[in-house]
Symmetry: C2
Subunit: 201 residues, 2 copies
């Protein structure tokens, strides 16, 4: 609902939307707990207190249902905080990403990666909702740093996103250590800033 003033839907369609959200929430919980390949439609029906008939009226199959749950959960992202410096902005974004990785979000992503290898629709949904839709965060941070004179014109925000995403996902999925403040400082100071400030080729 983008229009908060008047809900023009019928009571039945409001109930339908509520049920759909409840099912997506159940899917999200189960993805975090057991992963995509071990999650069955029976699990989802039980967790959401819904019949399988209801589920299959809304989604044709498990990939379609999971894609919807991912889009619903990862869809919105507030703009990055302007802390007044590039390093501050990067630390704030790392803090936000590490907090999410420590919550169920991180376990959901771990639960999806193997399945995405054999389910193209899942891989596409993950790229769209967890990578492409976050690109503006990195573009905004780089644009601010350019405006402040901290980075040269034309600095590549795509590589910044690629490297930050890789560092966080790798640490999380390989369980290489906590997503701590210390890790965030390491990534920003030892990796992201050197990459951003490299002499242009």
């Amino acid at each position: 609902m983008t229009d908060t003033a008047v809900d023009v839907r019928t009571p039945a369609s409001r109930r339908g939307a509520g049920r759909r959200e409840a099912i997506c929430e159940a899917v999200f919980e189960l993805l975090a707990e057991v992963g995509y390949d071990r999650m069955t439609m029976d699990h989802v029906a039980e967790r959401a207190h819904a019949s399988k008939a209801t589920i299959y009226r809304t989604w044709a199959d498990k990939p379609e249902m999971v894609v919807d749950a991912i889009v619903q959960h990862f869809g919105e992202e507030p703009p990055p905080v302007d802390t007044g410096s590039l390093r501050g902005d990067l630390l704030d974004l790392m803090d936000r990403a590490c907090t999410a990785a420590n919550r169920a979000d991180g376990d959901v992503i771990t639960g999806l990666i193997t399945a995405a290898g054999h389910t193209p629709a899942l891989a596409t949904a993950m790229q769209r909702t967890i990578l492409e839709s976050k690109a503006f965060l990195f573009q905004t941070i780089v644009a601010r740093a350019v405006a402040r004179g901290e980075l040269p014109q034309g600095t590549d925000a795509a590589t910044l996103q690629e490297v930050m995403h890789a560092m966080i996902v790798s640490r999380k999925t390989w369980q290489c250590g906590p997503m701590s403040d210390e890790f965030a400082v390491h990534v920003v100071d030892d990796v992201l800033l050197p990459v951003l400030k490299r002499p242009s080729s």
Copy 2:
């Protein structure tokens, strides 16, 4: 067998070792094809032409069997090529890693990541065989570059490994593009060299 001169094992133990290797190979193939969570002991028995009784005489359960298959497959790594320059050494190592990621090795890792999230023995085996046992590659490359005067004493090989591993695994598991020569050059020039040559803190 490291001793190629004389095989001192009995014929029965040779047959046992051969069967064990055949089963590990079947496990490896199935991990690449369907992933850990969808692979059953029945699949393994069928693929390896072995009885489930034989499998359970060797391994107590699925995690133990898979750990053995991973250790057998990823266990040995030749030393890095000395190309005469840091950039050449890094490109050669990237080429080696990308070639492996393009083969079944990459699909096996994708097939394991979700399961490693809920099976600590798997996560430990992956860290040991795919991270810790490769550390010497990065230490060797950094030591050579220090000896050549390309990097300062005390340059951190652990961060180099952390970043290269993250970039390759992220690209592979998120299916962000081919593991191509172009990708290898991008990672070396835009990420690894700036990280290695950063002003020390």
